[in-house]
């Protein structure tokens, strides 16, 4: 294989990794803070993509940039409504009840999506400025792939700044560790949870919005993405944002290599990656053994 085609494959792997990271970061934040494995996270992703398609088809291709901001904000609002109406009632319940509750939300949102957007798949054109490809030596990269990688890096940087340098971020970390003590120190943990869930939904919505031009948007997106996102989070370690980044890269690479070597077996590679990692580190790469 030539260096150029390897580079192209690597970039494509990083594109997959980038979009997976944006989604998995939200999933892992929510899991870390509230100990909830949110299946409806995939629905938020799908809604992000659908909302972009609606905004772009109503207002034209120039509205893509607006939709990139608006869609995640709408999804974040939806997420906060879900948190207040459903999840808040199951935080102190067992995992099965929580899982059923988020699965119920997933099913409801899936049906609503069919009602709003129909069963036909939609496409969002790549914005003119990001369409086409860039030549580098003999290789050519799709410009939009670079944009996705850049967006993921920006999200990663943003989350790092949030968790490292802001009071809100420290509160989130403190809640992950000991929400009771955080409450005893005067933080309204309920409100914090709503905000964290909103942030998680925002990230899922943004992930869906960013990849909207890369794929056909239909009502199966939610189920497809949630499995991959969970694998990323499990590989990285539940609750760890850095883990989500590394997990996303591993999954992206395995998928790209799988397609390169044995295309018909490609989907098996990400499960293989998960098995290998969990064999070596049962709590994931950046995970700590079950926190009390």
């Amino acid at each position: 294989m030539s260096v150029e085609s390897l580079a192209v494959e690597l970039l494509s792997a990083m594109t997959t990794a980038g979009s997976l990271f944006i989604i998995a970061a939200g999933l892992t934040l929510v899991f870390g803070a509230m100990r909830i494995a949110n299946i409806a996270h995939g629905s938020f992703y799908m809604y992000g993509a659908f909302l972009v398609s609606t905004i772009v088809s109503s207002f034209g291709g120039g509205a893509f940039w607006v939709s990139l901001v608006a869609a995640p904000l709408i999804v974040a609002t939806l997420g906060m409504v879900v948190e207040v109406t459903v999840l808040r009632r199951v935080y102190d319940k067992d995992h099965l009840t929580q899982l059923l509750a988020t699965y119920a939300v997933f099913l409801i949102l899936a049906d609503l999506a069919i009602r709003f957007w129909g069963a036909q798949s939609r496409a969002v054109p790549t914005p003119a400025i990001l369409s086409g490809s860039m030549r580098l030596g003999a290789a050519s990269f799709p410009v939009y792939d670079l944009f996705v990688v850049g967006a993921a890096a920006a999200i990663g940087l943003g989350l790092w700044i949030l968790l490292r340098f802001t009071l809100l971020g420290w509160r989130i970390l403190a809640a992950v560790e000991d929400s009771e003590m955080l409450a005893a120190k005067g933080t309204n943990v309920r409100l914090l949870y709503t905000m964290v869930f909103g942030l998680g939904a925002l990230l899922a919505g943004f992930g869906g919005a960013v990849v909207a031009p890369l794929q056909s948007i239909d009502t199966g997106l939610d189920a497809n993405i949630i499995v991959a996102a969970f694998i990323v989070v499990v590989i990285g370690g539940l609750g760890s944002v850095a883990g989500a980044a590394v997990g996303a890269m591993i999954v992206g690479l395995f998928q790209a290599l799988g397609i390169l070597w044995t295309p018909s077996w490609a989907p098996a590679y990400i499960y293989l990656a998960m098995i290998v990692v969990l064999e070596i580190r049962p709590s994931g790469l950046f995970g700590t053994a079950e926190m009390a």
């Binding site: 420290w170 403190a174 000991d178 005067g186 943990v189």
Partner: protein, 238 residues
């Protein structure tokens, strides 16, 4: 200032506190004594509403706080310092302190992080160290420091001497006196009776979820009955 009226607290079905009543007056240091499992920690958790009582009433600065959420109670000026290593270990010293610092209330003391660093110079040196890597004594400083930044009127200290070396326990006594001198009322629970009674104005003895005895600290120190009852701990710390 704090008025606990016949509270009954349960963990699941087990009836832990069976009608505990106690009070702390402004400027007082009050100690809760009792063996492991007597209900000292549960009393504190009930006051903070971390384990809300099923019956009874808790009043603080002439408000009924029985149904308040923990964060609301904290904002009224009640600070809980739990026992053991409960600091936010993924955050560093300064982040722990800044997290604890509430917007200073009107008429509050206006304590700042610099004030805490003056009180505990060691913390200033360790400012960027993750709390997970602090010694037991340093974590105690951090817990006290962050409680102070919440600008409390009343401090609930749950077994502060637990797991500390004798030298650090002696220091802890100094800190508690200093806080009282700054006008903070203190309710502390202890198994180390000698240490606690030397600090306190008044004491309650808890046994099996009930208050068995209440008396001025001096009296409890001299009482043979109490010495026998808490004998083990007296000899350990004497």
């Amino acid at each position: 200032m704090l008025q606990v009226d016949a509270i009954h607290t349960f963990y699941g079905e087990s009836h832990i506190l069976q009608g505990v009543s106690l009070n702390v007056k402004e400027g007082e240091v009050v100690v809760l004594l009792g063996r492991n499992g007597a209900g000292k920690t549960t009393t504190m958790r009930s006051i903070m509403s971390l384990t809300p009582p099923r019956h009874g009433r808790i009043g603080f600065v002439s408000r009924d706080i029985t149904r308040y959420a923990p964060y609301q109670i904290a904002r009224l000026g009640l600070a809980f310092v739990p026992s053991g290593r409960r600091v936010f270990s993924s955050l560093n010293v300064e982040q722990n302190l800044r997290l604890a610092q509430r917007g200073n209330r009107e008429g509050g003391s206006g304590r700042t992080i610099d004030y805490v660093f003056r009180l505990f110079p060691k913390l200033a040196e360790l400012r960027t160290r993750r709390a997970a890597f602090l010694s037991g004594g340093e974590q105690q400083m951090l817990k006290l420091g962050s409680a102070l930044l919440a600008d409390p009127k009343l401090l609930l200290l749950d077994e502060p001497s637990e797991g500390l070396s004798p030298a650090v326990v002696a220091q802890l006594g100094e800190w508690v006196r200093k806080l009282r001198d700054e006008g903070i009322s203190i309710l502390l629970s202890e198994q180390n009776a000698l240490f606690a009674l030397r600090l306190a104005d008044r004491g309650y003895i808890l046994e099996k979820g009930r208050v068995q005895h209440e008396a001025p600290a001096r009296e409890l120190l001299d009482s043979n009955e109490v010495r026998t009852y808490l004998g083990v701990k007296f000899s350990q710390s004497a």
